[in-house]
Symmetry: C2
């Protein structure tokens, strides 16, 4: 399907579910971006879920979003159970504005929902010559170190910086061995997942995606990954006023109330300490790319480069919409 | 050796090498703290190295440290090749002051050196009810993903937060599978290192600590760990004006010039968004501690708890000074 046609359909669907024009556009853009960068677990596979949550009144289609200015640098946003895309879009824009004005921005959001890819918001800040760090929590998927039960979300750590080129450095890494979205896609398509990334509900290793969804995802690097997940839960949940300690509801399975996810956006000017930041980072990347490579590696890539290339490549083509999602779209348009 | 006696000796040694009284005290306290928390790779095993660097004029014993105030929140410090402990001590104190005044602090340091444990500085901020994130780079030890050669340091990621109790939450995690300091201690004591944490200079797995020091340390979680190490290099090196991209000299082996390590301190008030932060984090920790545990696990610990317990335990006892270090001390006092 052509991007333009798909976008028109998505906007129509979101508006039909009660979203305001600009909120429908923001949400559609975010979903299409996920498809274009190849992050299918955050793209169309979630469309029906978002609409179901609106229909069941656990996403508020007409939120009254309140922005509380604590200082020129610091803002606190109550998203009033909006769709996560809209809350995050406002959040990163306020964080950009604050950093542009004072050098540094710190923006916390509460009462939000799943917002897709952190990297998508990081790119916006990087385009304005800011460095950014973004944290959000998610429903239980990963067991704290020493525990038998999932509690932490896949809690991504996101860092973005300008590079002096048009390809931003965007590290957007889950602290679980595998992204939960990828397991969902595998489960939908009856595909296997890699070994060593998840346990079934009995605590045994599994490559069955459906069993993994019922079980526990493993954190990266044992207690270190568990500590990083805990850090993200504190920064995005405890600090902001959002849910934390395993209380974020699974958006696919639990319609008993809003998710109340929290997000934290930190932004600062890349050239605040060194006027020639762009030159310095270019040199950094150049030096690392020149290192001797492992056999078979053509180029040492920085985080975000691959995604950028996929976006460029996929933007030239039509978007492949699986039959199962075509059916979702048909039903949601009715 | 009693802590008090050891401290007197260390201060005497540092002063003999030209450090001012208060700088000698700061440096001695940092080394003793590392011993007390059981981080021996950052403790007395480095005393001779610091003194050698002063003698060989690659650490400046009488630095003129300049603090440039960019805003009420943001400061840039030129440490003038001071011993790292002193630069970091000033850095965290400025970051605390800025955050106390405006809610958020952002402090970059350049022309510094190895400062020991990030967590030691994080604790200072946490005691003032601040959340903190601290980044520093280090000499090449870890190969970027896809490369055959070390370039990133073990580049720790450090995060600290108040917990509503007297035991702070301090995540201070290297992005390498093993701390370089630990390999040094193992090499000095002819001990083996675990499997899967390092390669020798030919790219083969090794458990020989001396061979590992000549080779490459492995990052946690493959490309994810490599990305995190790259992030730390940018935040502490590229951004601050410090060395980066593998240019930080090994403090033990390379006396051709100062290290010019950079550090970044981010601080903000823990209760800036939620007045009841302490209550919220207590609930967070309580919930996680109550989870069902893996067989053999007595308690789910948060990062920093173990270190705090070791500190408390070790503070009651004398410090065990290995013979090899006793000899260092004797020589350095001459």
């Amino acid at each position: 399907m052509k991007v333009k046609k798909l976008k028109t359909l998505l906007i129509k669907i979101f508006k039909k579910h009660g979203l305001k024009d600009n909120h429908a556009i923001i949400s559609s853009n975010a979903l299409i971006n996920a498809e274009l960068v190849g992050a299918y677990g955050h793209g169309l596979s979630r469309l029906k879920m978002y609409c179901d949550r609106i229909s069941k009144k656990v996403i508020n289609p007409k939120p009254k979003i309140k922005i509380k200015k604590i200082s020129q640098s610091i803002s606190h946003i109550n998203a009033n159970d909006s769709i996560g895309f809209v809350a995050a879009d406002i959040g990163i824009k306020v964080a950009i504005k604050n950093a542009k004005k004072t050098g540094v921005g710190l923006v916390a959001i509460k009462n939000s929902g799943h917002y897709g890819l952190s990297g998508y918001y990081a790119e916006q800040a990087v385009k304005k010559n800011l460095i950014t760090m973004i944290y959000t929590n998610a429903p239980p998927a990963v067991a704290p170190h020493g525990s038998l039960k999932s509690l932490f979300g896949t809690n991504p750590i996101c860092f973005g910086t300008p590079t002096g080129s048009n390809i931003p450095f965007i590290l957007d890494t889950s602290i679980s061995m595998i992204n939960r979205g990828k397991i969902r896609v595998a489960a939908r398509n009856n595909q296997k997942i890699p070994e060593g990334v998840a346990l079934d509900k009995f605590g045994n290793q599994t490559t069955n995606a459906k069993k993994a969804l019922e079980g526990v995802q493993l954190p990266i690097a044992g207690y270190r990954g568990s500590g990083l997940a805990w850090m993200v839960d504190i920064l995005s949940g405890v600090l902001t006023g959002g849910n934390h300690a395993g209380k974020v509801k699974d958006p696919f399975d639990d319609f008993t109330g809003p998710q109340n996810i929290g997000h934290l956006f930190i932004t600062f000017k890349a050239n605040i300490f060194q006027k020639n930041f762009n030159q310095r980072i270019k040199e950094n990347i150049r030096t690392i790319k020149k290192l001797p490579k492992i056999k078979g590696v053509k180029e040492i890539l920085y985080p975000g480069q691959n995604k950028f290339m996929r976006f460029k490549e996929n933007s030239k083509k039509e978007i492949n919409v699986p039959n199962i999602i075509k059916k979702d779209i048909e039903l949601l348009l009715k």
